[in-house]
Amino acid sequence: MLIVELAVVGAGPAGLYAAIQAAKEGVEVLLIDENLTAGGQLFKQIHKFFGSETHFAGVRGIDIGRRLLEEIRNREVKVWLDSMCIGLSSDRELEVVRNGFCQTVKAERVVLATGAAELPVVFPNWTLPGVIGAGAAQTMINIHRVLPGTTVLMVGSGNVGLIVSYQLLQAGAEVLAVIETAEHVGGYGVHAAKIRRAGVPILTSTSIKCAQGETEVEAATIVKVDHNWNPVPGTERTLAVDTICIAAGLRSLGELAWMTNCEFSYLPQLGGYVPIHNEWMESTLKGVYVAGDLAGVEEASTAMEEGRLCGISVAKDLGYISENAAIEQKQSITRSLEALQGGTFGEERREAKRRLMEGWKESKI
């Protein structure tokens, strides 16, 4: 059995930052990820990030990923890739499948940064080849350099749907339309404007009725919906597409956290069931921390700051930095997080996060 001070599960932006920050303070870190490379979704995010200088604003996700991997290499962090954490007990024993064997790791502290998964949309023929997640399409074009199809219907106008539509255009596909069940475009206007001027219509109050095709997608039928999201008969239109991308939101990947019996709260604004955590990112189970999309689905910029905060919390807990130094760093990260959650778009998430932390206080009483 391997004994470590800190085990971080998930090497996306949150996990990488947690590992880097903790190692920087002297904590012995093991970083575990099931993928062949670290970086999570950063390497497929070829667009420039929003935020401020502290959040790498203006830098492309792929380049942020490169910088973080370099930092990991420069720190004494043990990295286990192609290693799947399949179990976690409440006394912080992890079961990790690695090289075909199950290994036990006993960690004094655990940071869970397991990310999120795309939500499906179910409609007739949704299992036909050619119906894929928008995130999957983004992985295909930006990581593997393969076009999933040549003519695309995007379902969902949140930032993921808008950004992936733009990147599909960059990759050479034709995006026939972005459809949105709500009356308004979900994501940032600037992302919408980029694809509108490139000729992609965004059809609001519109849903997908079915996919058509014998062995793969050959067309999609879309339909107008009323205020209650009921289809309006007679408004159907059929678009000849070979790919239907689903961008209907993400849900937190809480499976490992569930195993520890830590408490969850249901907050749809943050991706469904999310582990309750305090302002130090600690779950209701002492010594187990959460960060990134698992702690509420937001942007990668937020994930990085939450990961950094986890690293500081663990270093404080294990006595590597003083309480005062930790509080000072936490305050600066909190300000940075507040900046990212500011404005109209951040309002719902900000409120949901507040409720999540309220939940932590209640659970301790």
Partner: protein, 174 residues
């Protein structure tokens, strides 16, 4: 829904996916007609309070202000703007353009962030596309700027009839 959110959602930006001229004119980053007449200037089409401020740091003249609250809309001090265009590739939202109404007696020069391949070649003819994706005029490509400091956001400069200077925001091959 809060009142502020309601106001934002009523915007044309949220219904059709691009801002109306009226919404642009009401935003603090949008340039005045008086300044336009004086020569090259940045036209900032940022109308939503998203957390973002790289345009402020990109401007060597300090002509763009966002401030500490990064959800503030950028404010353009148009007299300070020299029309250098450095803010164009710095904007992650690709919503800053350059307009020079003094380019020629009949044509305006427009700088457009353009992240597609192949890049057009100077001298070629292209279609001038408006915010809604509609072709509204012919345009000629004057120059393409793509230094490494732009970080893979090339800026394509095109000449269009002056009356379309505040409409053309994209190009397509003829």
């Amino acid at each position: 829904m809060t009142e502020k959110e309601h106001c934002t959602k009523k915007m044309m930006m949220n219904v059709v996916g691009y801002p109306s001229l009226q919404e642009l004119e009401q935003s603090p980053g949008f340039v005045s007609n008086d300044r336009l007449k004086k020569g090259a200037v940045a036209v900032i089409e940022c109308v939503q309070d998203i957390p973002c401020d790289p345009c402020e740091k990109a401007c060597p003249q300090g002509a763009i202000k966002v401030g500490r609250t990064i959800t503030n809309l950028p404010v353009l001090e148009e007299e300070k703007c020299t029309g250098c265009g450095l803010c164009i590739p710095a904007c992650p939202g690709l919503c800053i353009f350059l307009v020079d109404m003094t380019f020629s007696p009949t044509e305006a020069l427009i700088g457009i962030p353009y992240e597609f391949v192949p890049l057009p070649t100077p001298g070629s003819r292209v279609e001038g596309i408006d915010r809604s994706g509609k072709c509204i005029c012919q345009a000629s490509v004057i120059k393409v700027r793509n230094p490494s400091s732009y970080d893979r956001t090339p800026v394509v400069y095109i000449a269009v009839p002056k009356k379309h200077a505040q409409e053309v925001r994209f190009i397509m091959k003829e």
